[in-house]
């Protein structure tokens, strides 16, 4: 039983150690930064995949580029700016709040409020009929 558990654990961490040998970084902090950056960046070839998952050639190049920037000690915003200056906000899974994206960010709340208002009005009317 114990050996099975340890075997499972072994397989759990084999991926992790593999990733580390491909992109070795100095500190765990940089490793964490590299990992979450790859999850927040979109691959532009297979558009619904992030850079961490994608196997496209461009994704490999961008991964390497992000890796080099992380290694240089660049911050998240600097790396995001670097990529969005080249590929646009589309490369970010979380687009910045600006006039063009206002509807994207606050549209759902607008619809929620509208829904509540409609619901309220209908219920209110119905109660007054009875």
């Amino acid at each position: 039983m114990k050996s099975i558990v340890s075997l499972i654990f072994f397989f759990f961490f084999i991926g992790l150690s593999y990733a580390n040998t491909m992109y070795p970084l100095d500190t765990p902090k940089q490793e964490a930064q590299f990992e979450h950056l790859l999850k927040d960046l979109r691959c532009l070839v297979c558009q619904n995949q992030d850079l961490a998952d994608s196997n496209a050639d461009l994704a490999k190049d961008l991964r390497l580029q992000v890796y080099n920037l992380v290694k240089e000690g660049k911050s998240d915003t600097e790396i995001n700016d670097y990529l969005s200056a080249r590929y646009g906000d589309f490369v970010l899974f979380k687009p910045p709040v600006k006039s063009l994206t206002l509807m994207l960010w606050f549209g759902p709340f607008l619809f929620l409020i509208l829904g509540v208002v409609i619901f309220w009005r209908t219920c209110f009317k119905r109660a007054s009929y009875e």
Binding site: L44, V45, Q47, D57, L58, D61, L62, Q65, S84, A85, R86, Y87, G88, F90, L114, I118, R121, T122, K125
Partner: protein, 178 residues
């Protein structure tokens, strides 16, 4: 009347959403707006494909309106475009090639087979300059004006229709500017 107005609102909303979704069906998600338009060409220095010992500087394209075409021998769509590029080259358009993530042997072989419309070809074996240009596939074509600013970008195969409708008028306009 007021009562009906409120009840109609969800239907109107539904119809508005339908219009947006219907519109969305005909949009190509791979057609991305380029942030590079309006920016100057990133500074680079790349070896020329035909003379690997010679380094080509990005400042060398300044002073005239040129096309910069990103291509590779592994890119099957580039073959389709090549016929049209050859025609443009015969008409006297200056086309520079950026050989994207390719090896020079294959690239030269490919040019021998399909013809060479380029004034000069720069090999970007690492794809570094392509990243700076925001390239996400081949072929891609940029129009660069006299002061080295990117004015237009097309991702995908160029054709006669696009050339006559958008690119040629823009190039003529840029040619007028000093």
């Amino acid at each position: 009347m007021k009562k009906i107005g409120w009840k109609a609102l969800p239907i109107i909303l539904f119809m508005v959403i339908c219009i947006f979704l219907w519109r969305g069906l005909s949009l190509d998600p791979h057609h991305l707006p380029s942030v590079q338009v309006g920016k100057s060409l990133p500074a680079f220095s790349l070896p020329e494909l035909e003379y690997p010992g010679v380094l080509f500087q990005s400042s060398q394209v300044q002073g005239k309106v040129v096309l910069l075409n990103v291509w590779a021998s592994w890119c099957s769509a580039c073959v389709d475009e090549q016929v049209f590029l050859m025609q443009l080259a015969r008409e006297g358009v200056s086309i520079y090639g950026l050989n994207y993530k390719d090896n020079s042997h294959d690239a030269l072989q490919w040019l021998k087979q399909w013809g060479n419309p380029y004034k000069n070809i720069l090999s970007d074996t690492q794809g570094k300059v392509a990243i700076d240009l925001g390239v996400y596939g081949a072929p891609e074509t940029f129009i660069i004006d006299k002061s080295g600013v990117i004015r237009y970008r097309h991702a995908g195969i160029m054709n006669q229709e696009l050339w006559l409708k958008e690119m040629l008028p823009l190039m003529n306009e840029l040619e007028q500017q000093t």
